[in-house]
Amino acid sequence: MGRYIIRRLLQAIPLLFLVTIFMFTLIHLIPGGADQVIFNPHLSAAGRAALRARFGLDQPVPIQYLKWLGNALTGNFSFSFGTNQPVGDILKQRFPATLQLFVPALALALVIAVLLGVISALRHGTATDYTLTTLAYIGICMPIFLLGLFAQEIFGVWLHWFPTSGTSNYATNIDPVSAFVDHIQHLILPMLVLAISFVGGWSRYMRSSMIDVVKQDYIRTGRAKGVSTSALMVRHALRNAVIPLITIVALDFGAVAGGATITEGIFAWPGLGLLFFQSLAIRDYPVLMAELLLGAVFVIAFNLIADILYAVMDPRIRYS
């Protein structure tokens, strides 16, 4: 197992290099480079040239890449073109907000998906199954931004249950308790929208996995030996059916650095996704590169984690 992990890690590093080259090329293909968007339009040509040199934009792209790479390897991601803050600090500032949104959403989605999937599978073919499947389809087929819009309108504007954007209402920052409650109130809508977008696909997957497991011989053996239905379902069927779903969840978690982009855009949640939109608009290359890199690192890391989890949970994979 240890050798498998080390081998995968060694494979991941060149992949990461290739990904950075790929991404660097891409963002430098975007028309209207940073100098056209950020620099003062009244700058003289000499001033413009000086600024370009200061930002390192006058050098050929491969040299820029190598410089970026050298800096990145030492942890220095340079300064944002737009706000002059060190990029590392910006990311550190924004990442917790995305985590706050993403982790509870995924946890909630996992619990709901397992419940719905199992109920759907055990009541296979009945009206309950059809209702739950329909709900799951709504989660799959509705574009996220539409879900977000409807949620904002219904729960924010019509019912006034939750605020529709941002993370907090300044007026309530007076004492920690009400600030916390207010923060949670702002968190609920985007988190629910994100969770619903995952529940649809996961519950269908859980349902088909559970149906396959329940057909297996060992379930029948357990029933023949007198194991009660609930113990059978929970201790034997569920445990085995959940394995493929957990790997899917791990893979979906890998999108943490970019997966909530749309939700953050709609609810103006100040996380990495919103930062992405803002830096894209001003062609803020250092921030974009750092964010894409962070995203890729998470995706690759969680791919690895998903494979390891699968091997840990299913001993048959380990020995093959």
């Binding site: 028309p31 087929c141 574009p143 539409l146 819009l149």
Partner: protein
């Protein structure tokens, strides 16, 4: 009886059921493979509903404008009653903020959305088949390089890559959006095709064809690929739904289809600010997107069940 006896007898069927011709009503005509698949598909009610809905939607978008001949781009902003109007007989779904008829816009927008979804799916599938077939068939170094390439594209979170690429390449025409979506969604098809090829290339029919002199390309595309068609078709159907959603996300955020062309996603973007006053502007394109993608998903799932060789024949 062993093989040599079986090969020697003229009709194996008679050997097993010697008096069958005396009872013609018991003879079950052997159905063709296509017929079996069709029968299984028809029995799946949800899939049939989905297919019917798709037909209605396609007719709505492509034939509808010939019946409902209002121009979707004709502005009519002169009077307060003609803009953001509630549904009337003249405008069954109301009008938007500059007086354009929502029903006509929905039809024309649907053309763009459906075409973008469909053509980008075709491109993605073709590309995915190309890469997957070579990777699966040749294996070894070719497989390694191609899968590495796939991993690179997959390593970046989809939406980040989508927006960066759209900022770089998309100029608002449907053609660029089609290319963009195609180059981001081919990866699943490539993996799928590679898996199928890896499994199928060891089968006897491949070995048999190779023995009589079939070359590599012929084997790949005339023999193995048709046998891998099932999962590919399912993936293609589901991919159209995904692509329609991707296109609507792009257009909603302003990165995709730009005016004067409009798609359902951009209709939602323009109608969003008027949601309180005239919810039809968001509901009409939004629900159309939902039902289109739902229908494609139902049909895709129906096809998956119909094409599944492991399902016991009932």
């Amino acid at each position: 009886m062993d093989i040599s006896e079986q090969l020697g007898s003229a009709t194996t069927q008679d050997e097993v059921e010697p008096f069958l011709e005396l009872a013609p009503e018991l003879v079950q005509k052997r159905r063709s493979q296509g017929r079996i698949i069709w029968d299984r598909f028809i029995r799946n009610r949800a899939a049939v509903v989905g297919a019917a809905a798709l037909l209605v939607l396609v007719l709505f978008c492509f034939v509808g404008p010939y019946i409902w001949t209002l121009n979707p781009d004709s502005l009519n902003a002169l009077s307060a009653t003609s803009t953001l109007a509630n549904p009337t007989l003249a405008h069954p779904l109301g009008t938007d903020d500059v007086g354009r008829d929502t029903l006509a816009r929905a039809m024309y927008g649907g053309r763009v959305s459906l075409l973008v979804g469909f053509i980008s799916m075709l491109m993605a599938i073709v590309f995915g088949i190309g890469i997957g077939s070579f990777a699966g068939y040749y294996g070894g170094a070719v497989d390694n390089i191609l899968m590495r390439f796939t991993d690179i594209v997959l390593a970046v979170p989809l939406y980040l890559l989508l927006f960066v690429l759209s900022a770089a390449f998309v100029d608002g025409t449907p053609k660029s959006v089609i290319f963009l979506i195609a180059i981001l969604t081919w990866t699943y098809a490539a993996r799928l095709v590679r898996g199928e090829f890896l499994a199928l290339k060891e089968r006897e029919f491949v070995m048999a064809s190779r023995t009589i002199g079939a070359g590599n390309f012929r084997l790949m595309f005339r023999h193995i690929l048709p046998n891998a068609a099932g999962p590919i078709i399912v993936n293609a159907t589901l991919l159209i739904g995904t692509n329609i959603i991707l296109e609507s996300v792009l257009s909603y955020f302003g990165f995709g289809i730009q005016p004067p062309t409009s798609s359902w996603g951009s209709m939602i973007a323009t109608g969003e600010s008027f949601f309180d006053v005239d919810p039809f502007l968001v509901f009409v394109p939004g629900l159309l997107i939902f039902f289109t993608v739902l229908s494609f998903n139902l049909v895709g799932d129906g096809l998956r069940d119909a094409l599944d060789p492991q399902m016991t024949e009932r």
